[in-house]
Every structure is written in C-alpha cells, then in structure tokens.
Point group: C2
Chain length 274, copies 2
C-alpha cells in the first residue's frame, strides 16, 4: 500500500505525513496530531477497543488490515498491528518560538533517531517550550525517534530549519540566552557563576554524536557550558548530557521563581545542619 | 577458539574472564583490568602500533589472528579486529563500599545491557565511588554494556550481589543515605527540602526498565525521590533519570563543600540581578 512509502524520509516529506505505531503512540497522536487513517489488525482491534472507539469518535477512518499488511507498515521487530497515518508535526520556527519561551532545546546536526527522540522526551520532561532541529539533522518523524520519545513528539512544538544561523538568530530574537553544551566550554554547569545564567530564558544547543557542535555554532552562543566530569569518564552521551543541562535550567528557574534554592549550602542554616 | 564461550554469560562466569573489543576499550582495559591475552588482526595491528606495544610492555601475550577468527569473538556488526581477554571486573560488595564512599549507584534488576553501561558511564562522570548491580541483573561484562560504558566499567569498582536486601544493608553500614529513584516518590528532586538530603553521602537506587523498583526496595530506602516532570512526559528513561539524580547529588555536594550555591535564587543578590 502507498503508506509504505512513509517508512522512508523522502516519502514522508513528499506526502507530508508519517506513520505512528503502537497503542501508546497512537493514543498520543489522537491527542496531539492530525490523524488521517488508522490501520488495525483484528487482534489489535480486540486488544484496543477504547482506542479504536476514540479514533472513530474523532472521525478517523479505521481500516482492518491483515497481519501481513500491518507488518509492511512497521519498522519494528515486533509489529503491534496498530498504525496511524498523521500529518507531519513540525511547525515553522517562528511558531515554535512564539509566546516568550523560557526553555528551548536546539539539536544541531543530530544524526541518530534514538538520540533525537530521547532528547525530545527529556526536553518535554524538563518543561521545554519547543525543540528545534537545526542543520543537517535526523527526521523526528522517523519511527525510532517517535518511539524513543514515548509520545513526547506530540507534546511540544517541533521545528526544523537547515540554516543553523537562522535558528540562533530566531532564538536570540525570542529573548533567549544561547547556551552551547560543549565539553570544552568555559562555563561549568555547577559553577556558582553559571547560576544566574541558567535561570534566564534559555535555548540550549546540543551537537551531534560524532563531532559535537560545529565551532562556528559554539562561538555564536552566549556561553559554552560544560557538564563537569567529576570522575574519569571522558564525556557523557548526548541524551544524558542534554537531560542534565535541561534539568539544571528547570531547577534554576524553579529556584528563582520560588526564591528558595534547589541545592544546599545555599542558606547558612543548611550548611550548619549537614 | 575457546574464547568464544566468553560471548555468553555462562561462559564468562565459568572462566572468570570476559572479552573487550576495540582500541578505546582495550586501552582502558590495559589501565584498569587484568588482561590475559590480546588477539589482533593484521589490519588492526597496523592501525594500533602503540597500543600493541603497550600491551607487550605489560607482558600481555599478543596473538595475530585472521579476520574470520576475530569475527567469531565479536558481537558487533563491524568487528574491530582487536580483542582482549580480561579477568572479570567485579569486586566483593565490601570492597566496592570500602573507604567512606560519598556517592554510589545501585542498579536493581536492570535487564538491558546498554542501559547498565550508560548508567555506569554517568556514575563515573558524576564522580560515583562505585556501582553495585543488585538482584537479578544484567552482566556488566556483556559486550553491549562494556561498549555503552565507553571505558567507565574500568574506572570505578563494580560489585554484584543477588540479595538486594544485603546491598541496602551494606550501603547503610557504609554510612550512605539510601535514595530510591521513584516516579511516585514523596520527595521532589528539585524541592528545597531535598537539598540537605542530596548533599549527604548517598546510595542512589535505580530500578529496572520495565517495572521500576520493587516496592519492598523502595520502602527500605530512606527517601523515595522523584525527578519532577515539568512538561507532559510521563517519565524519563532509566539512564536519563539516573544521570539527572547522580548529577543533582554531585552538584549538591560541591555546593556544600564550596559553601556556594549551585543554583540561583540562593542569594538575594542573585535574585535581584536576574
């Protein structure tokens, strides 16, 4: 069936649609995307009566398909027999950055779909307002990226822009301080000097797995921030570093809003107690 | 060759040895493990002259093998032609917890080797003194776990103990506060009330991917701590949550030691400035 073409990036971009597989993801899609069609095997229909009813209530055409047909639409080892066809999720950059965002994650030249999805999930968890994929980047509609995000691709605006410079300009115009995550950065994430910076409205810029951030991108940021390495590890992986950075921002903002520090040593009373 | 048996857990446990593949991992093994043998293809020999010389200087027998023989010792898609046979790394629990540890990561019933390796890497980066694998757990000498750790399995003591209760007792006896990472935990990682707790010598306990922490383990901890979810994500993945928790401890300890807060809002001056 023609929907098979959506397994490939070129097919998705031509059709402006992508595939969403499995009950959890389809449930999220019904809440966060425009769903055109739902294909379901008899077994999956039996397992997910409420979900199918919800789709029908939303006016989504539901088609019963054979296991074999469902397999041809799946890129997983264990097809779940439940596949939705949805409009691509990405919005224009200006839309993603609309409304005075406080926390944005920019992925520059990230190639591995699992990493992209995991960072989208962490960004969602940390309360980010948007995720922007900049430069030559993986497609967030790739099946593995969607699965790794565990629904988060449907939770917050995603934008794509090949011109990384334009992304940085737009973030700055949106009032965001640009922080480049950089293992060699001059600012230590846990340094007291970083505290004031972290509480600002921030766009975190994360580089690809293999080569990190291009030097020009790192230099264009307001600060290059390194996650301190207290042990002997030479680095953190992309998703882990991104989660630590985004949560540092979330914590700093919360602490600033409540006026109460997140970490100890911050009041003399706490120092005396411990 | 007999070394092939080391690709399987039972073979590793019987022989007390495991396989380490690739130049980066073998370099780390030479510095952090007892290496018995090094197998190298002619091509890998040519690519890694200094590494082979270092092995020979350490008295490690180096054997030239065919590409085909090297492939039989590899569980990767692209074998690197360089494989060391090393003694298993794990030490007794009492050894791992020796010397007043300040930060320990306990993995309870973690099944996925990539996750285990990624947490070991994050624990190393955050300055943990040891990693303990408790209960029915993945073997940290599994090839995928070793690769995901990017050398960190060689950097800090690893212990394994099937009796999770004994692990908790030993951690407590070592002066550690037990914090169970738990999405339903009563203590919010970013709550000011958590600050004093986080700065203590801590054993973080992380549960498996599928079912999280067993209730008995969570209840036995001193506190159950949740990573706050600021957005709409329902959870974080294990490795991401572990990194955020371990770095929160590292930051809290550093802040306590320096007497300067890691996050803003902690001095009135900072509040005024931002």
């Amino acid at each position: 069936m023609a929907a098979r073409k959506l397994l490939r990036r070129a097919g998705r971009e031509k059709a402006g649609k992508f595939l969403v597989e499995g009950s959890q993801a389809v449930r999220e899609a019904l809440g966060g995307a425009r769903v055109h069609d739902l294909f379901v095997t008899p077994a999956a229909l039996e397992r997910n009566p409420e979900l199918i009813a919800a789709a029908e209530a939303d006016g989504v055409p539901v088609t019963i398909v054979t296991d074999r047909a469902a397999e041809t639409l799946s890129d997983t080892v264990t097809p779940q027999g439940l596949i939705a066809i949805c409009d691509l999720l990405d919005v224009p950059l200006s839309t993603a950055l609309d409304g005075a965002p406080a926390l944005v994650a920019v992925l520059a030249a990230v190639a591995e779909p699992g990493n992209a999805g995991t960072v989208v999930r962490a960004a969602d968890a940390a309360g980010a307002d948007a995720v922007v994929l900049a430069g030559d980047t993986v497609d967030p509609h790739n099946g593995k990226a969607v699965r790794a995000s565990t629904g988060s691709v449907f939770h917050l605006p995603l934008a794509r822009e090949r011109d990384t410079g334009a992304v940085l300009d737009a973030c700055r115009a949106a009032g965001l301080t640009l922080l480049a995550a950089d293992g060699q950065g001059e600012l230590d994430l846990h340094d007291p000097a970083a505290a004031e910076v972290l509480a600002r409205p921030t766009a975190w810029i994360f580089g690809g797995e293999a080569h990190g951030l291009p030097e020009t991108v790192a230099e264009a940021a307001d600060h290059r921030v390194r996650v301190p390495l207290y042990g002997r590890a030479e680095s953190l992986n992309l998703a882990t570093a991104a989660a630590v950075c985004l949560y540092a921002s979330a914590g700093a903002r919360r602490s600033r809003i409540t006026g109460v520090p997140v970490t100890p040593g911050s009041s003399h009373e706490a120092i005396k107690k411990v």
